[in-house]
């Protein structure tokens, strides 16, 4: 099963088909041309054995904005593990904005998280992923992420991160930081900034490695602080 948000642009009224699984998508009021959907946990998340799959498909000249009402905590899994897979497909000029709330990996959790994005030419995605390793005062568990994004036939971004306690703490991956806060744009670039990574193709990554999640300056999309 999958949690699914499917939006198709329509001249009369944009069609929005929502499927509940581990998460429940709920439509919110939105301006013309914008479909806003809240993602709400439908039960306790994220526990050993959970296999959360979120599919987003947007087609046509419409913008989907996904809002999360709360962060997610992956709890201790006592030897078990969980998955969190996101699959995004945008076609025919669609755009997506998804500023996810913090994803917290508690001590003894073991999570694999993948994000796969396929954009047709002319589509754009604006995604935030805020990973926190451990709640206050604890050492977070294991998190492995895999991100792949295609624009048409071209691979735009491929990045795997091994955020296990043994590998993340050196001088290459996270250092002593607990939070990896990332805003990724695909199909368009963020303004140049000394800290912003510009991808080879049209896309950017703005990233903050911080100790406390609220220290990140990427927090508020409205303030556009990431575009300074």
């Amino acid at each position: 099963m999958s949690t699914r948000i499917e939006v198709v642009a329509d001249p009369v009224r944009d069609r929005c088909l929502l499927t509940t699984d581990h998460l429940s998508p709920r439509q919110l009021p939105g301006a013309a041309g914008v479909v806003r959907v809240a993602l709400v946990a439908a039960g306790a998340l994220l526990l050993a054995g959970d296999d959360v799959r979120i599919e987003i498909a947007v087609s046509g000249a419409v913008r989907l904005e996904i809002v999360e009402t709360a962060g997610t905590v992956a709890y201790g899994m006592r030897g078990g593990s969980a998955r969190w897979d996101i699959d995004i497909r945008l076609t025919d000029g669609a755009s997506l904005q998804w500023y996810a709330e913090p994803f917290v990996v508690a001590a003894d959790a073991d999570v694999t998280r993948t994000t796969t994005v396929r954009l047709a030419a002319g589509c754009t995605a604006h995604l935030r992923e805020s990973l926190v390793l451990g709640r206050q005062g604890e050492t977070g568990g294991v998190l492995r992420t895999a991100t792949r994004a295609w624009l048409g036939e071209d691979l735009l971004l491929a990045e795997d991160l091994d955020l296990s306690p043994d590998t993340r703490t050196g001088w290459a991956v996270l250092g002593t930081n607990r939070c990896l806060d990332t805003v990724t744009t695909l199909g368009f670039r963020l303004p140049d900034d000394p800290q912003t990574l510009q991808l080879e193709g049209p896309g950017s990554i703005a990233r903050r490695l911080v100790h406390e999640q609220h220290q990140s300056t990427l927090n508020h999309p409205a303030s556009a602080s990431y575009a300074r």
Binding site: L155, A158, E159, L161, V173, L174, R207
Partner: protein, 240 residues
Amino acid sequence: MGNAELVAMMLADGRLPTGGHTQSGGLEPAVRAGLGADGRQLADVAAYVRDRLRTTTRVEAAVAVLTRHMALALSGTKVAPGDKNVPESPEPVALVEAAWAARVPSHVVRGVSRRQGRLLLRLARRVWPGVSTYLPNDGEIARPVVLGVVGAVTGLSAEQVARTVAYDDAQTVISASLKLLPVDPADAATWLAGLHDDIERLVKDVAPLTRVDEIPADGAPLIDVFAHHHAIERMRLFHA
């Protein structure tokens, strides 16, 4: 042509005029951020190399291996022109560079590699003219791609190509540490020897790869952050 092992030694030799002395493999900005501060925990240098071998250097080595593979496959297609079983791929080397570029999100880090690649290319086209079959005479091309082509035209094995990339990266960081930190040269050489198992593990992992989509994509966000700090640093000893 020549002896592959000697070619590998030339490529790994810091005295080869390809500007290796201008590189610290990201060590300089890491030292500025506190690595080995006050002369304590100097062995963090070796741990940093180990982290690179697991992440960015692993990707680079795989890119070099795939470039070598594609160049050899391309030279094979020339033997049998018109063979319909050979996949139509006009620029297999460019294909590998595109795969590399998607795996290196930072334009700063890509720029450093391409500048290094250009230096190696300028030398290689004189020393091993065969590289011109696959690469332009001049241009900013990712260093592992140039190295993979050199490997293909000089008869290096996939293992030798991967080992050269891995060793070169380790030695770049460790020899830079002698200029950035109060390191005893004998300690530095001991660290390097201690990394042999890590290098061989990398070689074993990436040498068998034959498909572009098998190239690993291990990232290292802190290395990117440091590279971006370093790019706008006014007082620096190393280019990167």
